[in-house]
C-alpha cells in the first residue's frame, strides 16, 4: 500500500520532513510518490511551498535535502531506477531466435510480455529480475487459445481477459479457471497480464495456478535442447521458484479436455478495500461424479504454504464418503491441518488456517449446488 510505503520511506530517512507530518490528512489525490519526489528533487518546490487547494495542505521542505546521496537513495524507488541499469531490448520474431537469445544470456536475461508484474518488480530493485537484457516475446505469436482432440492449448502470452472471453471455458469443468481469471487483479491489468506470466512468476498466491492444477494442466517448455512437458503441479517448487531453467521458456499451457463429468469452482479471499490485492487464501476444487456419486476429488489450496498444494487427505475424505455436512466438515479440518501458511502483511498464519477450513466448506457447498443443477 502506498501509505505503508511512505512510512517505510520516512523510517529509512530518519526524521520525517516537516511537510509530511500531517500526511494523514491528505487524501493523496496528487500521488505520494510525486509529492516526496518533487519536494526532494526540485529546488523550486523547496523554496516556494505549494498549497493544495483541496486539502489545504502545504508541501514544503524546510530543510533542504542535505546530501546528494539521499536523492539517489530516493530515486531508487521512483521511476528513475528504470534508467539506472543499461539495458538491451530484443524483440525476436521467431521462437528459435528467442530461445537462442535466452541460451546466450541465461540468468542475465529476462522475458517480458505483459510486464504488469515485471516492471514494478524491476523498479523495486534488489531482485532476480534486474537483468541487463530484456527479451520481448510479444512478437512470437504466443497469444492464442486453440482446441485440439485432446487439449485446449493456451499460448503463454495470452492475456487473462482473453481466457474469460473464450466461450468454451464457460462450460462446467472449466468454471474454476474462469472464476480465477475474473478475480485476477482488475479488468485494466488483465488486458496486459498473461497466463504464462502468472505461472512462471511462481508466486505462492498466483490465482491461475490452483485451477490449472485442478484441471490437470501441463506446461510446454522450450529451450535450445527442444521441448519438454511438465505438469503444473510439479512446476512450482517454492515461493518464486520454479522448475524453469535459466535458458528455458514457457510457451504453452495444455488443459486436457475432460470427458468425465466433473464440476469445479474457485474461491479467493482477498482484502476488500482494493480489488487489485493478492489473495489471502485461494482455493480451486473439482469433484468428479458418476451416477450422482462423487468418485474423485481435487482440492488445491493457494497462498497457504510455500506453494499451491493439493490437500490430499481432504480429497480422500471427500472421495470416500457421501458429500454431506459431516464429510465436508471433516475435509475442512483435514485441509486446515495440511496447510502451512506464514504471517505476512496481508494476514496472520492462524487466520489463514481458519480461512482454509472456511473456504473448503464454502466451495464444497457451491459444488454440491452446482452438481445438482
Amino acid at each position: 500500500m502506498i501509505k505503508g510505503k511512505l512510512y517505510g520511506l520516512i523510517l529509512q530517512k530518519g526524521n520525517p520532513p516537516p511537510c509530511l507530518k500531517s500526511f494523514q490528512q491528505c487524501r493523496g489525490c496528487f500521488g505520494w510518490r510525486n509529492m516526496i519526489q518533487g519536494s526532494l528533487v526540485h529546488e523550486a518546490w523547496q523554496n516556494n511551498p505549494i498549497k493544495c487547494s483541496l486539502t489545504g495542505l502545504t508541501l514544503k521542505m524546510d530543510r533542504l535535502v542535505q546530501a546528494k546521496e539521499k536523492q539517489t537513495n530516493h530515486q531508487r524507488s521512483a521511476s528513475f531506477l528504470l534508467e539506472r541499469a543499461p539495458l538491451t531490448y530484443y524483440k525476436p520474431q521467431t521462437l528459435p531466435d528467442a530461445v537462442k537469445l535466452l541460451s546466450k544470456y541465461e540468468t542475465d536475461a529476462c522475458l517480458i510480455s505483459g510486464g504488469t508484474d515485471l516492471l514494478p518488480l524491476r523498479q523495486s530493485g534488489k531482485n532476480r529480475l534486474q537483468t541487463s537484457h530484456l527479451i520481448d516475446i510479444s512478437a512470437l505469436g504466443l497469444s492464442y487459445i486453440r482446441k485440439t482432440d485432446k487439449d485446449f492449448c493456451v499460448g503463454a502470452a495470452t492475456p487473462v481477459n482473453d481466457l474469460i472471453q473464450f466461450p468454451e471455458f464457460a462450460t462446467s469443468p472449466y468454471a474454476a479457471l474462469i472464476e480465477a481469471a475474473k478475480s485476477h487483479s482488475t479488468a485494466t491489468i488483465r488486458n496486459r497480464a498473461t497466463i504464462g506470466g502468472n505461472i512462471v512468476n511462481a508466486s505462492l498466491c498466483a490465482d491461475l495456478v490452483p485451477p490449472l492444477m485442478a484441471l490437470n494442466a501441463s506446461l510446454v517448455i522450450a529451450s535450445s535442447r527442444g521441448e519438454r512437458f511438465i505438469p503444473v503441479e510439479f512446476f512450482i517448487e517454492g515461493p518464486n521458484c520454479s522448475a524453469l531453467k535459466p535458458d528455458e521458456m514457457l510457451i504453452e499451457i495444455l488443459i486436457p479436455i475432460e470427458t468425465n463429468s466433473s464440476v469445479s469452482g474457485f474461491l479467493k479471499l482477498g482484502r476488500n478495500q482494493t480489488r487489485i490485492d493478492m489473495a489471502v487464501v485461494n482455493i480451486a476444487t473439482r469433484l468428479f461424479f458418476r451416477d450422482k456419486k462423487c468418485i474423485d476429488a481435487r482440492i488445491v489450496i493457494g497462498a497457504a504454504g510455500p506453494r499451491a498444494f493439493r490437500a490430499k487427505t481432504a480429497e480422500t475424505v471427500i472421495k470416500k464418503g457421501q458429500l454431506n455436512e459431516e464429510t465436508i466438515h471433516q475435509a475442512a479440518s483435514a485441509a486446515m491441518a495440511e496447510s502451512s501458511p506464514i504471517d505476512d502483511m496481508r494476514a496472520s498464519a492462524a487466520y489463514r488456517k481458519k480461512m482454509v477450513a472456511y473456504l473448503v466448506k464454502e466451495s464444497m457447498n457451491i459444488i454440491r449446488e452446482r452438481s445438482i443443477a
Binding site: S79, L87, T116, A187, I276
Partner: protein, 164 residues
C-alpha cells in the same frame, strides 16, 4: 541519444510519430516528457492507482506498466485525443455534467477506462462499469459520480454514434 536507444513508431491520438526511446523508458514518461501530453497522470507507478490509464489498441492499459518499446506500432489514445476540434467528447462532457470531477487527478484515467469500455460494450450495465473502473483509485470525488458519468455517456453515444 544514448547507445541503446531505439526508434519506435506510434500512432498517438491519430497521428503517426517516430520517436527515439531508451529501452528502460516507460510509456508514461514518453507521453509526458517527450510528447508533452501531460493529461495522463502518474500516481503510484506500480499499477495500483490507475491514474495513468490510456487506450492502447482500443484496450485500457496502464501507461506506467508498458515500456515505450513495447508500444512500437501501437495505436495510443490519451485524454488529449478525445476532443474533436475543441468540442468535448461525450464522456468528457458527461463527467462535467455529472460532477464526476473534484481534484481531477484520477479523472483522465477514469475517462480512458470508461472510453475503452464503451468502445467494447456500447450498452454497459452498472456492474460492468464498476468492474471497468475497479483499477482506478479516487480519494476525493468518490465513485458514484464517475459511474453515473460513464453510464450517461454510453447513453449519449448510443443515440448519436458519430458524436466525437
Amino acid at each position: 541519444m544514448k547507445r541503446n536507444d531505439l526508434e519506435i513508431k506510434m500512432n498517438i491520438n491519430g497521428e503517426w510519430k517516430t520517436l527515439m526511446v531508451s529501452p528502460n523508458e516507460r510509456l508514461i514518461d514518453t507521453l509526458r516528457n517527450q510528447l508533452s501530453l501531460t493529461g495522463t497522470k502518474e500516481g503510484c507507478a506500480e499499477g495500483e492507482c490507475g491514474a495513468c490509464t490510456i487506450n492502447m489498441n482500443k484496450k485500457a492499459v496502464l501507461a506506467c506498466l508498458v515500456l515505450s518499446v513495447q508500444a512500437d506500432g501501437a495505436h495510443i489514445l490519451t485524454i488529449e485525443g478525445l476532443q474533436n476540434a475543441g468540442k468535448l467528447h461525450p464522456i468528457q462532457s458527461s463527467f462535467l455534467t455529472e460532477f464526476a470531477v473534484q481534484c481531477g487527478y484520477c479523472t483522465p484515467g477514469m475517462i480512458m477506462a470508461g472510453h475503452a469500455l464503451i468502445n467494447q460494450n456500447p450498452d454497459p450495465d452498472e456492474e460492468t462499469v464498476k468492474e471497468c473502473i475497479s483499477n482506478n483509485l479516487c480519494r476525493c470525488t468518490g465513485y458514484e459520480n464517475p459511474v453515473k458519468g460513464i453510464m450517461k455517456s454510453a447513453k449519449i453515444m448510443k443515440e448519436k454514434p458519430h458524436h466525437g
